[in-house]
Symmetry: C2
Subunit: 339 residues, 2 copies
């Protein structure tokens, strides 16, 4: 039931935001536009139209649902919703290019088709377009909203930089606290910013904006925990990320770090596996070791705890939880996937 | 004389803008800050303080000089001056990373010390910080100024993307018109934007802002032409770019493209040289061929022509040319280097 409500909301969000998003991307000069149109899935690499793809749209949905929940008009926040999505896609483009990921989604990444320089330059352009969409929308809060989105970009960059630094450390040299802080910056920050922008465009008071930011951040961390579980055990509804994907790449995801810090024999076994190559057999044994070391339970309990904190923040900004129905449905949706 | 006035102005600009620039960079989270501090030359790679370096500061100087010339207070435009410099440094960081240039300035580039991912992420953060500096400065024009700077970023990206596309074409497959358009986007746009921001912060009318933008663009193109001449024949005052540097890299700079299109025997000779490896001997012969094919004369005459257009635009925004003394001195300075 909740799943259906969230899916309907995501679908309505796509319908509402895509025209602004697409016309912004189409405003790019030719050579940049072609790369961006491919990246968003609106064109094939050769420039012919591609069938629409159902992106998750969770960030713009949070902007619009927050604006509604706080008594604002979602239409006033449409540009902010598109702006958040443009920033998100800048991070996808740049992350793909710098990690040289070939196919994190359903088809080759933009950098692998058009080259790293094009991916970097188009990402820069999307970032500028996102900030521009808000900067001159003529709304009373546009300055504050634009500054907040820019500050969020800095936090996203810091989180991703910290995440990359972890890759070069031994599996036992990354603390769970550092890992949680990084996840908050890398994933929570933009979800929090999406909610804060929705609140700003609804004319909310500072403490409501702060509470919605905290709601988005905590929900974002829960989302990351579930995503990390999917990276180990997969999810039938998430075919882009097969079971074991994160383990095969030696990723120091949250359940792995929690398991490694458990002091159990399974933790020692996991650390040993992380030192070697990760074939199919090692992946299966590592997943089992994470489970036995308590990493899976910890992540599920911690995700539930973060979600409880999120709802606590939400209830401060929106005391009538009936008005917060859409936000609750979204939060539940992204944190109730299979594993 | 003019050279001294401009040098003094650049020095005063550095004194005025560096505190805002540096405190903005120092506001970055640790891992990003270290890379940025190195990039700006304020720290060595290990994090120890480095002696101050005299960057050119031409872009912030244009912001402040324009604000003054139009009767504004330069202090009101200080954040805009720092913002333009942050955007410029984002392009330096990203261009270095995507071209894998090892030492375009006096020491190893940031990407070669800290890696491409760090350079991309720190560049993103500088871009966001630049747009943020303007977005929430509380000034009446901050929305318009922020939107203009963001639009300029898109143009810079398009210009750099077009420039890179030229690299993959044969030397005779790049037209002089396309090359001029690219130079305008890649170099002229940010100089024009710097002047336009100075005008906005001085409370100038739309047509004055447009005239100052056009002044900066034309002066920027003249600057690019002189820079291209230096890339072939060097400049005693510009030790970072030795004579022949652009030729050795097979760059399709403006004098080269003009020479190739001249229909002279020297053009055919140059095209032939560009098809082969570029040792010291080939570089010397190519420079000579550009000269004999008229590329050097064309670039000098065209730079003078662009400077005349620039001054024409300037006189529309600042009819009393005495008030425009600093801007004229800056424009002359950047286009009166040796070759």
């Amino acid at each position: 039931m909740e799943g259906r409500e969230a899916r309907d909301l995501l679908e309505r969000t796509r319908t509402a935001v895509t025209p602004a998003l697409r016309s912004t991307v189409e405003s790019l000069p030719g050579s940049l536009r072609r790369v961006a149109m491919y990246h968003f899935g609106w064109e094939h690499a050769g420039g012919t139209p591609a069938g629409a793809r159902a992106d998750d749209a969770i960030r713009p949905a949070l902007v619009l649902a927050t604006a509604s929940a706080l008594g604002g008009r979602p239409e006033a926040a449409l540009r902010a919703a598109a702006a958040v999505e443009l920033v998100h896609h800048c991070t996808l483009l740049h992350d793909g290019a710098i990690a040289e990921e070939a196919t994190p989604r359903d088809r080759p990444t933009a950098w692998s088709v058009f080259g790293t320089p094009a991916a970097v330059l188009v990402g820069d352009a999307l970032l500028a377009l996102g900030l521009r969409l808000i900067a001159d929308d003529g709304h009373r809060v546009s300055g504050a909203a634009s500054a907040r989105l820019a500050a969020c970009v800095v936090e996203l960059c810091a989180g991703r930089q910290a995440d990359r630094a972890f890759e070069h450390r031994g599996p036992r040299d990354v603390s769970l606290d550092a890992c949680l802080t990084t996840a908050m910056a890398k994933t929570g920050a933009l979800l929090g910013c999406a909610c804060a922008l929705g609140a700003l465009y609804a004319g909310a008071r500072d403490e409501e904006v702060a509470a919605m930011d905290a709601f988005g951040r905590e929900a974002g961390l829960a989302f990351q925990l579930i995503d990390d579980l999917i990276g180990i055990w997969g999810d039938a509804g998430h075919p882009g990320k097969p079971a074991g994907a994160d383990l095969a790449l030696h990723r120091k995801s949250l359940p792995v770090i929690a398991a490694l810090g458990s002091g159990t024999p399974a933790a020692a076994e996991l650390a040993e596996l992380y030192r070697g190559p990760m074939g199919a057999d090692a992946v299966a044994r590592a997943a089992d070791a994470v489970d036995r070391a308590g990493g899976r339970d910890w992540a599920q309990i911690h995700a539930a705890d973060r979600m409880a904190r999120a709802i606590d923040h939400l209830s401060r900004a929106v005391p009538d939880l009936a008005a917060a129905g859409e936000l609750l449905a979204l939060a539940e949706f992204v944190t109730r996937r299979s594993p």
